[in-house]
Symmetry: C3
């Protein structure tokens, strides 16, 4: 399993990690199957969405902030319950198809690491799962 490090620089931030994941899959030497992308944090998620227009990620961040406002009311006393709930909605993991040694995505798709409680040093774990042989 590959453990990829990244740093975020704002409290809420969508980071395009498509190329990082492609490099991890190459190191794992997976020719065909799927790559599990797993975020080992409880205030950050991962998803696939449009990457051509950066306004899309801004809109998605805005939707999650409107759906789960920072103000609460919440019981958890650390002041980041919005981040835990946004992680729930975005999801903590993703499975990407791999063919010909490369992650296969649709034309407009990019993979985003969704920081909900940064800035922080973060990890993404990548595990190779092979195709039936």
């Amino acid at each position: 399993m590959e453990r990829v490090s990244l740093k975020t620089s704002r409290r809420k931030e969508w980071v395009d990690i498509t190329d990082l994941l492609g490099e991890a899959v190459a190191r794992l030497d997976l020719s065909a199957g799927a790559a599990l992308v797993f975020v080992p944090h409880t205030t950050a998620g991962v998803t696939v969405n449009e990457g051509a227009d950066p306004a899309v990620a801004e809109d998605l961040e805005g939707v999650l902030c409107r759906l789960v406002p920072a103000a609460g009311p919440y019981r958890h006393a650390e002041g980041n319950s919005d981040a835990h709930a946004q992680t729930l909605l975005a999801g903590p993991s993703l499975l990407l198809p791999v063919e010909g040694g490369r992650v296969r995505l649709g034309t407009w798709q990019r993979v985003f690491f969704c920081e909900f409680d940064g800035p922080r040093a973060r990890e993404v774990w990548v595990q190779a799962l092979p195709l039936r042989e």
Copy 2:
């Protein structure tokens, strides 16, 4: 990997693709393991939910439209930010258990392709991942 085509006929539409997926898994000749169902689009998702009463899918579509209204405000200028955000909430992929050559679902479960910005010609990708042998 199987690439299954389908056509949607409305802007928002939940299509039961359980049988289509079952046929794809049969073509992939997977006896046991899991089938990755991946939507290579950024304005459509996939999920599992109740299929016996069609009113459930209508309710789910209604919930997503109330949570993410078409009106915004959004920055993305194409007028479909609601669809991108509904894709985020529904999720872009799914992993289904396979046993005895067949996708295994609970009694009331069906797999739905969730169109959020149709009508369009769409694809669903299906990748076979084998059980430990």
Copy 3:
């Protein structure tokens, strides 16, 4: 595939199933790869989030109840459309990384079975997917 049984005791309830899943993965004799966790119900989901402070799960349950109120309006006549929609948002399945025969999670992560329409007798299915060898 392992079929793990559990019982819930309230209508809405987050049950920490991390240890149950660890035992299932041990029985499946999976040394490295990933474990598919699949909920075969349409009114319950599964997710990963913080388990150290029980207030986090309470907050997440509260967020889902505010986002999808029981009152509706809904078409489905069984009175549990909120539970179907909360299942959509939490997600019906999860893929967890496995290394050294153990499920690998981040420091603060625990796996939660999310009951949205209990109390009921429930199942969680666990399927082993091996690492590339």
